[in-house]
């Protein structure tokens, strides 16, 4: 039996052993995201100092793709500024919508996710953590 194509090793590794999982005790920013199609939920907590993300945790009730996406995101945004993180999120969202298979260099570590974009029903799963991130970025602006 071969592993179905969608579940690549790296993805599974993140899903099974998610990085930065849980909740920060006294976060500066906090946002939740919800997938109405399946009831999945995710909470993102961040500490920020001078605009830079110092710590970051995600509490996920979701599928392996949602979990892996949150884990990969947390690795990518740590030590970035909120603005940089929001920019990455936007490029990521755009790359999921585009038809091409090209992937921006800045998103290289997200490649195992992005190649799954043909599974359109799973895009919302991939995006859940990023939705929460964009919410945090918005909160920070106002």
């Amino acid at each position: 039996m071969t592993t179905p194509s969608i579940y690549r090793d790296l993805l599974l590794e993140h899903a099974r052993h998610p990085k930065n999982s849980g909740r920060l005790e006294s976060p500066d920013l906090r946002a939740s995201a919800f997938n109405p199609l399946c009831g999945d939920e995710l909470e993102l907590t961040l500490t920020v100092s001078e605009g830079t993300i110092q710590d970051c945790k995600t509490q996920v009730r979701g599928c392996s793709i949602c979990q892996a996406s949150a884990s990969m995101m947390s690795e990518l945004i740590l030590t970035k500024t909120l603005q940089e993180a929001a920019n990455i999120s936007q490029v990521f969202t755009e790359s999921l919508q585009k038809d091409t298979e090209e992937i921006a260099e800045s998103l290289d570590s997200l490649r195992p996710l992005i190649v799954l974009k043909k599974h359109r029903s799973r895009i919302k799963c991939m995006k859940l953590a990023w939705d929460a991130l964009e919410d945090c970025a918005r909160q920070n602006q106002t």
């Binding site: 919800f34 109405p36 359109r120 029903s121």
Partner: protein
């Protein structure tokens, strides 16, 4: 038989046109009621059912993703077709009637207060009149009519006066009777009148009044551009633009979408459902409760593709030729009373008339004996018919497959009606 290049090209696409009725080839001239379907529209639905059928939005398996793609691509195709900035403004309904009821119940009802007004015209279809009566009654509001030209008597050139609109809107402001909405058809389904929507919207907006456009008759006859028109809402049906039954569209501007309450409750329109209360999905899903008409959307997308391939300018030109010919023929007969604009200016290929002293039913029946399908009745416009001083009329309405020779067949059959009833 005279066949224009357009009809020669398209007639083969419509299988029903091969039918004989009472021994004669079918001359289908009731396109304002519903249009016939080209093979590509029928095939699109068959293809959906044979290959991709599944429920949308909620499944992760292959068929469900395919069906969802077909459904959402349909939304994008419609958005482009009517000039909407994005597909998020396109709501699928079961038809023009439901689209208008949606606006009446989800948008107007929560806003409308006692003494306020909804403005309609005298030429509106019951589907763009009765929903407003119902909501007005619920809210203690009233309908106010933008009358046909001229304001009194039975005769009319079938047009609406823009100056009059401006006056009526200004008057309501003076009376402190807020007008919440102007709702108007782009093309009359009886008079054939083509209303100047862009100008109407400009005047209404100058008075702060949003505009709903009933485009049921317009979409198959002219290019629509909701962004250029700047209308707030626009409604139409699939079955009147060579698409399937059971599917319609509501376009709404972003600001209006934001103001809209839920319409029907059910699967697909929710975010979180609690035991007593729930929260809603974003537009457009918020307004699409229940399993949507997916096969019908695939058919509608094919219809829109067909219209674009044939070309709306070509279709409009063809309709102009037919209308010109029909108007010329009408001018030959003193006993035929034609309603609506007497020339091709501001007019499309919907022509309603009466043969003196013969009931419209009898006219239509005699025409059917010759294989000609025209409609007799009030065409769901009792207010307009009363305004014209008649109970009913006969209506011929052209589609892209009609021929000049079919119009001539009508006038021959009218002779037959004269022979039977007036001899």
């Amino acid at each position: 038989m005279q066949i224009s290049p357009l009809t020669a090209k398209v007639r083969d696409d419509f299988p029903i046109l091969k039918r004989k009725i009472n021994g004669h080839p079918l001359a289908y001239l009731d396109n304002a009621a519903t249009t016939q379907k080209p093979n590509c529209v029928i095939d699109a639905q068959v293809r959906f059912y044979e290959n991709h059928n599944s429920n949308v939005s909620r499944g992760v398996y292959t068929l469900a993703e395919e069906a969802t793609d077909i459904y959402e691509e349909g939304r994008e195709i419609i958005a482009k077709f009517i000039g909407a900035a994005d597909s998020g403004k396109i709501i699928f309904s079961s038809g023009t009637t439901e689209s208008i009821n949606l606006v009446a119940s989800a948008w107007a009802q929560p806003k409308l207060k006692t003494g306020e007004r909804i403005m309609v015209t005298e030429m509106e279809h019951h589907s763009n009149l009765v929903p407003w009566q119902l909501v007005a009654q619920n809210c203690g509001a009233e309908l106010v009519y933008w009358p046909l030209n001229p304001e009194s008597g039975n005769s009319s050139d079938g047009r609406l006066d823009l100056q009059k609109l401006d006056e009526l809107l200004a008057e309501s402001v003076k009376l402190k009777r807020k007008i919440r909405l102007l709702t108007v058809t782009a093309v009359s389904n009886v008079l054939g009148t083509v209303n100047p929507i862009a100008e109407i919207v400009k005047i209404a907006h100058a008075h702060g009044v949003p505009v709903l456009v009933d485009a049921a008759q317009a979409v198959a006859r002219m290019s629509i551009d909701v962004s250029a028109w700047d209308c707030d809402f626009l409604a139409f049906s699939g079955h009147k633009i060579y698409g399937p039954t059971g599917i319609g569209v509501l376009y709404a501007k972003h600001e209006r979408l934001e103001e809209m309450h839920p319409f029907q409750g059910g699967g697909g329109m929710i975010r979180q459902v609690g035991r007593q209360t729930s929260t809603w999905a974003d537009a457009p899903q918020k307004f699409e409760a229940g399993t949507p008409p997916v096969a019908e959307v695939s058919g509608l997308a094919a219809a829109v593709g067909y219209l674009s391939d044939v070309g709306l300018p070509e279709i409009q030109q063809h309709e102009l030729e037919l209308t010109t010919h029909a108007l010329k023929r009408f001018a030959e007969f003193k006993d035929l009373e034609l309603y609506g604009p007497p020339e091709t200016i501001d007019r499309s290929g919907v022509l309603s008339f009466n043969l003196q002293n013969v009931h419209p039913h009898d006219v239509a029946q005699v025409l059917d004996e010759s294989g000609i399908a025209v409609r007799a009745g009030h065409h769901c416009t009792q207010v307009l018919h009363k305004r014209l001083g008649i109970a009913a009329s006969v209506r011929m309405s052209f589609g892209l497959y009609n021929e000049i020779s079919e119009i001539d067949r009508i006038f021959s059959a009218l002779d037959q009606a004269r022979n039977i009833f007036l001899a």
